[in-house]
């Protein structure tokens, strides 16, 4: 029988178009959902990066502070060592004199006292 429908309006065409619309709607929905998920992930990652950068800044500040303390302690140690070297100039012969006196080492005692007189001045 001769089909007299106008072109493009067959029942099958309409059905096929409906199927295509369904598939495209599903595809569009899928891509919208995927896009929104990616956006959500990106937002969370940005928040995480901000948090880690804040922690990093805090850690760097702490590192600077602790390093400064170490530098101060090193400078203090240098001062203490200089001071100790000076004190030992007098303290060592004094200790030697005590040992010499305790052991009856008269020459040792004389030598130690000689050094004490030289090194223990004010």
């Amino acid at each position: 029988m001769t089909e007299l429908y106008p072109p493009g309006v067959r029942r099958g065409t309409v059905t096929a178009l409906a199927v295509v619309v369904g598939v495209l709607a599903a595809a569009a929905g899928l891509f919208v959902a995927l896009y929104l998920m990616e956006r959500g992930d990106s937002g969370r990652l940005s928040t995480d990066i901000t948090g880690v950068e804040r922690e990093l800044a805090d850690a760097r500040d702490r590192l600077d502070s602790v390093q400064s303390s170490v530098d101060d302690l090193d400078a203090e140690r240098t001062g203490l060592e200089d001071e100790l070297a000076e004190l030992r100039e007098c303290a060592n012969p004094s200790k030697d004199s005590v040992v010499a006196a305790n052991t009856g080492d008269d020459p040792g005692l004389d030598a130690a006292i000689e050094k004490m007189l030289t090194n223990c001045g004010r």
């Binding site: 106008p6 309006v9 990652l45 850690a59 302690l73 100790l84 007098c90 200790k95």
Partner: protein, 141 residues
């Protein structure tokens, strides 16, 4: 000129009349056409929407990967700085302990030196001199 001879052809009577060609009603045809057009427009719109969001998804996915890389980088950096902080804190504690030891030694030596200087240079006599000497023997061991 044709002259009338009196002959008249007998009309042929067909046994049946040809059926008129089938034609669906006009209203449903128009409705299908309209439906097809609407579906076509919706399909086109959905195709564009799907294409746009596929592109946006691709871009967002790239951004997400970049951000994930940056986060890993920052975390690695933070781990390194944290390790440095721990190591520096240990160095600080060690230095503080060492200085404490040096300060203790300085106190001991200072006490010894003070009493020696007092014994030698303060012109002590008698009991004071003996007391200073006893202190010297105690503090300068």
């Amino acid at each position: 000129m044709i002259q009338h001879t009196g002959y008249r052809p007998t009309p042929v009577v067909l046994p049946y009349a040809p059926a008129p060609p089938y034609s669906p009603p006009i209203a449903p045809r128009r409705a299908r056409r309209a439906t097809a057009i609407v579906l076509g427009v919706i399909a086109a719109a959905l195709l564009i929407t799907a294409g746009v969001f596929a592109g946006l998804f691709t871009l967002a996915s790239g951004d997400r990967d970049t951000l994930a890389g940056q986060l890993d980088e920052r975390r690695t950096e933070l781990g390194g700085v944290t390790d440095q902080v721990v190591a520096t804190e240990e160095a600080r504690d060690t230095a503080a302990e060492r200085n404490t030891g040096l300060e203790t030694t300085r106190s001991e030596l200072s006490a010894c030196v003070d009493v020696v200087q007092r014994y030698l240079w303060d012109g002590l006599v008698g009991a004071e001199r003996q007391a200073a000497l006893d202190q010297l023997f105690t503090l300068c061991q």
